[in-house]
């Protein structure tokens, strides 16, 4: 019987090795898999390469992982924020490497990895500093930049509901990067608010099919929800 439900965040991340590349879902705090990040911090893996849109907010979640000096490199589109002080400090001290990627290019590189695409041409960033040194091509009337996929060892994401096959639904704008990250990683670990019986999720509304998911952990919701 296929059962992807795992007892705890700790059990779900026990095998993460030092040096792993990990995609973390979320856009700011919306969709941030906080319980899994806390478990990753407790687990102790170091020299991580992290893929997220941002570089952490305030002192919790991704910011705490960065603050604990566990991240060697981060790929993101928007590190600098009013409350990104952990990243800012380490970046200025030269203790964390940054690969700045335009947000749409970041999303498409992740999608490409999950879809088996070897590389793609995008018009984004052509002629800018972020395309320096990259291969370009004129196709028709436009200029494009060659970009490569981003693969990951793990994706840790937050979804709303899951069944034991790993079929997922999301809630509001917490979906953001999670579905494409689930596709791009060797091992996708999901924290969900609720686990349900097979068949309880309407097949028409499954957003991430279980084939992209390896492990599911139910975590009590701690975020504030509108009534």
């Amino acid at each position: 019987m296929m059962n992807k439900l795992v007892a705890s965040p700790e059990a779900a991340l026990a095998d993460v090795p030092n040096g792993a590349t990990i995609m973390i879902g979320g856009f700011g705090n919306a969709g941030m898999p906080s319980a899994l990040i806390d478990a990753l911090i407790a687990q102790g893996a170091r020299d991580l390469t992290i893929v997220n849109n941002n570089a952490g907010n305030a002192d919790a979640g991704l910011a705490a992982l960065i603050g604990a000096k566990r991240v060697r490199k981060i790929l993101c589109s928007f590190p600098r924020q009013a409350d990104s002080w952990h990243f800012d400090r380490l970046y200025r001290a030269g203790e964390i490497e940054l690969e700045l990627v335009p947000q749409g290019t970041l999303a498409e590189r992740i999608r490409a990895a999950g879809a088996g695409i070897g590389a793609f041409f995008t018009p984004t960033a052509y002629g800018t500093k972020l395309a320096e040194g990259k291969e370009t091509r004129r196709i028709g009337e436009r200029d494009y930049v060659l970009e490569y996929p981003i693969h990951a060892d793990y994706a840790i994401i937050k979804a709303d509901r899951a069944d034991r096959w790993g079929n997922l639904t999301y809630r509001l704008s917490a979906r953001n990067f999670a579905p494409i990250m689930a596709m791009a990683a060797q091992c996708t670990v999901v924290q969900v608010r609720e686990t349900v019986e097979l068949g309880a999720i309407d097949p028409e509304v499954v957003v991430t099919p279980g084939i992209f998911v390896k492990r599911v952990v139910k975590v009590a919701a701690t975020l504030k929800r509108a009534a």
Binding site: Q103, A107, R175, P179, I180
Partner: protein, 216 residues
Amino acid sequence: MKKLDHKQIAARVARDIPEGAYVNLGIGLPTLVADQLPKGREIILHSENGVLGLGPKPLPGQEDDDMMNAGKEPATLVTGGCFFHHADSFAMIRGRHLDVAVLGAFQVSVAGDLANWHTGGADAIPAVGGAMDLAVGAKKVIVMMEHLTKKGESKLVERCTYPITGARCVNRVYTDLAVLDVKPDGLHVVETVEGLSFEELQRLSGVPLKRLASAA
């Protein structure tokens, strides 16, 4: 002359956004446009983080941590709105499905180059977000900015001295002094604020401007 305040620039931008448009408002000044959209026009706001039909700020106590705008502020969804993942969100942008992007700017060149993501300072931490995608992807790229820097220098320039976000991508610029169109032969003044002559705008702007036949 009667300089426009930020809200008035936002209202001026909003006036030109047509019924039925799909629009992305960049973070910073452009977010003010949302509250100025003419009542009765159905205009759908897109947010990079996977939202079509972004609504106004929630009432106090109605905030939801799963519902944010691209500036990571609490947001709402209008009736008929929907969610999608990030690759689809940027397919909407890059794939030329979005009618209008309104962006802030440090500088706009006479050729329509946009600089709005990085001051280029050695100590500055760069951040780009979705700006480069919006600059190349939206059918119409509008810049909303103050005409002059705090030091009184023109933000309309011959060539951007800050790193560019996109080349030849800006179609129209709305400032606290004027509305200008970017055309293949340079910047055309569409209108100026009350009490500001073309000649005075020309002097303040420091780059060659052209008069639209219809301009006041």
